[in-house]
């Protein structure tokens, strides 16, 4: 045990900055959420108790955003995981150019949301887009589709862009997990006449269980919070078809300047995510402080 003052001195700068930019603002969100607070109407600010939260429950747009959020998280994370898993299993095989392929596959993950939005908006373009061109050439559609500006396709189109951006994360995590499975297990299984499919089902997937659970939790939290790709690609439209909960909260603050209601919305989002965060933090803490 060292003198307790020394570690405190080392910690102090990080704690002070964190208190200033995270802890204090988070508390202020709670305060804002209990107030009627329109940024450019300073004369009409008042404490309203839980009124904002009651209003949220009666707000049709909240329920639309919540259901879009659920579709968004389940479909984006689900497909990111499946594609990431398949990619990791393939990249774990031996073939020429493997390390090159492993390096290239992470590129989508490195890119900023604005670029992702730009690339995909350009590819989805009604008149000049490469996606319509390819689908027309292959005869899958007869007329060009306005993917991002019709309510029935907009959410799916943005989800596809997010799947593209996020699957390398699962690939990298699962590839790291695959390296920890001892080769002897496969050799023994092969001697007993197990098929490839049985090896995957009874050796690989059970061994990856922890890695997959951690990755899924982390990704669910991150995707549920993310709004920048949607903001850039559709701004929540057409209509409210791509409104998700964080986006709705953000637009309430940014466009309507209704900081009270927006804060209440973001608190509701945080509460909804709390369970996933709690499970995730427990897992990590258990691993780290073993």
């Amino acid at each position: 045990m060292n003198r307790p003052i020394e570690p405190l001195l080392f910690l102090l700068p990080a704690l002070l900055v964190t208190a200033a930019v995270v802890l204090f603002p988070a508390l202020q969100t709670v305060w804002l959420g209990l107030h009627h607070y329109i940024l450019f109407d300073p004369d009409n600010r008042s404490f309203v108790g839980l009124n904002n939260f009651v209003a949220i429950l009666r707000d049709e747009l909240f329920w639309i955003s919540l259901s879009n959020s659920i579709i968004w998280v389940v479909s984006a994370v689900g497909f990111q995981f499946l594609l990431g898993l398949v990619t990791a299993l393939l990249l774990n095989q031996t073939f020429a150019g493997r390390s090159f392929a492993r390096a290239l596959v992470v590129i989508p993950w490195a890119l900023p949301s604005v670029i992702i939005g730009l690339m995909w908006t350009w590819m989805y373009d009604l008149n000049l887009g490469v996606i319509n061109d390819l689908l027309l050439r292959s005869g899958l559609i007869q007329t060009p589709v306005a993917w991002l500006s019709q309510p029935s396709t907009a959410l799916g189109a943005v989800v596809l862009a997010l799947i593209w951006q996020g699957f390398p994360f699962f690939t990298v995590m699962i590839l790291a997990g695959l390296q920890t499975i001892p080769a002897e297990q496969y050799e023994a299984a092969e001697m007993d006449g197990a098929t490839r499919w049985q090896c995957l089902r009874y050796i690989t997937l059970p061994a990856l269980r922890d890695v997959i659970a951690t990755a899924l939790l982390l990704r669910i939290i991150w995707v549920a919070n993310s709004l920048d790709v949607i903001l850039v690609m559709t701004g929540g439209g057409p209509g409210y078809s791509t409104h998700t909960l964080p986006l709705y909260a953000f637009l309430k603050a940014y466009s309507s300047m209704d900081f009270g209601y927006a804060s209440a919305l973001s608190l509701v989002l945080t509460l909804l995510l709390l369970l996933a965060v709690a499970v995730y933090v427990r897992r990590i803490a258990r691993e780290v402080f073993r």
């Binding site: 045990m1 570690p7 405190l8 080392f10 910690l11 700068p13 990080a14 900055v17 964190t18 200033a20 930019v21 995270v22 988070a26 202020q28 969100t29 940024l39 393939l90 990249l91 073939f95 392929a101 390096a103 290239l104 596959v105 992470v106 590129i107 490195a110 890119l111 949301s113 604005v114 670029i115 992702i116 730009l118 690339m119 995909w120 350009w122 590819m123 373009d125 000049l128 061109d133 990298v172 995590m173 790291a176 050799e187 090896c199 890695v211 991150w222 919070n225 993310s226 709004l227 920048d228 903001l231 964080p246 909260a249 953000f250 603050a253 804060s263 989002l269 995510l273 933090v281 803490a285």
Partner: protein, 278 residues
């Protein structure tokens, strides 16, 4: 496992699927780069002309000469460097304390930094706007750097703690026994050994700060605009000029792609520690 599959089966079961996935991963990027070097008349025809008859850099010269892009690059660079400096500056000492000392509240504080990383951006961005406004930090580099500290600090604390944990504590002890002070030990023994970790963490903060859009947009105004915010406003301003837009996108994407490829192998440790946000 010894692979007993025939050449053809390997091709069908491994090589072709990998080729297909790589195409999916790279095609949007390549399409952006390709569009940026096509002349306008090759961009605006349908059916799409896949390979241009001539390569041109006119969009790049228009972008650099006629728009604010160079200034935006400067703002982004300054903010990213600021975020790296602030992030590493406060996190490296904190991580050293977490790794080398045992004190009351150590676990709880470390868990706190993990939880902070999970806090929704909207929860912070709204009060930070109010806060920065009252301190007059809106539309300043410092304001955006502070915004980026919300993700840079928790990530670096976790990354650096695991790097320090990988260095044997006997090194510190030997130096202390030889009469070095704590700060000399850190400066001459620990930091040089931790340098790969510090560089990786720094590059990761740089990439995330460079890529960040929401804080940069919310906290910026007329004078301090990062490249991501500028690009998004170009999309409204130069609606159908895809050559110009993709040229800007390419210039923003290339540096982070290169940096990310350099560090990606070394990131896995921090990933499993759960500290990576994007």
């Amino acid at each position: 496992m010894i692979d007993r599959r025939t050449r053809l089966r390997r091709l069908l079961e491994i090589e072709l699927p990998i080729l297909f996935i790589l195409m999916f991963a790279l095609a949007p990027y390549l399409w952006m780069v390709l569009t940026s070097v096509k002349p306008n008349e090759a961009i605006s025809i349908f059916p799409v002309q896949y390979l241009p008859e001539r390569v041109t850099f006119e969009h790049y010269s228009v972008l650099l000469a006629k728009t604010s892009f160079i200034a935006n690059l400067g703002h982004s660079l300054l903010i990213s460097i600021g975020a790296v400096a602030l992030g590493l500056g406060v996190s490296v000492p904190a991580a050293y304390a977490f790794s080398r000392y045992r004190f009351r509240g150590r676990k709880a504080t470390l868990v706190l930094f993990l939880v902070i990383n999970m806090v929704p951006v909207v929860l912070l961005i709204i009060p930070l706007f109010v806060l920065m406004r009252s301190f007059g930090l809106l539309d300043t580099h410092l304001g955006i750097v502070m915004g980026h500290a919300t993700f840079a600090i928790p990530f670096s604390v976790w990354m650096m703690t695991s790097y320090f944990n990988a260095l044997p504590i006997e090194l510190d002890e030997a130096a202390l026994v030889d009469g070095a002070t704590r700060l000399q030990t850190i400066r001459h023994v620990v930091l040089p050994l931790a340098m790969p970790g510090i560089v990786t963490t720094g590059i990761y903060i740089f990439v995330n700060s460079w890529n960040e859009y929401l804080f940069a947009m919310m906290l910026s105004g007329q004078s301090v605009k990062t490249v991501t915010v500028a690009l998004q406003s170009f999309i409204g301003e130069f609606t159908v000029q895809w050559g110009l837009l993709t040229a800007a996108g390419t210039l923003i994407a290339i540096p982070v792609t290169v940096l990310f490829l350099i560090i990606q192998r070394r990131l896995v440790g921090g990933l499993t520690a759960g500290a990576v946000k994007s």
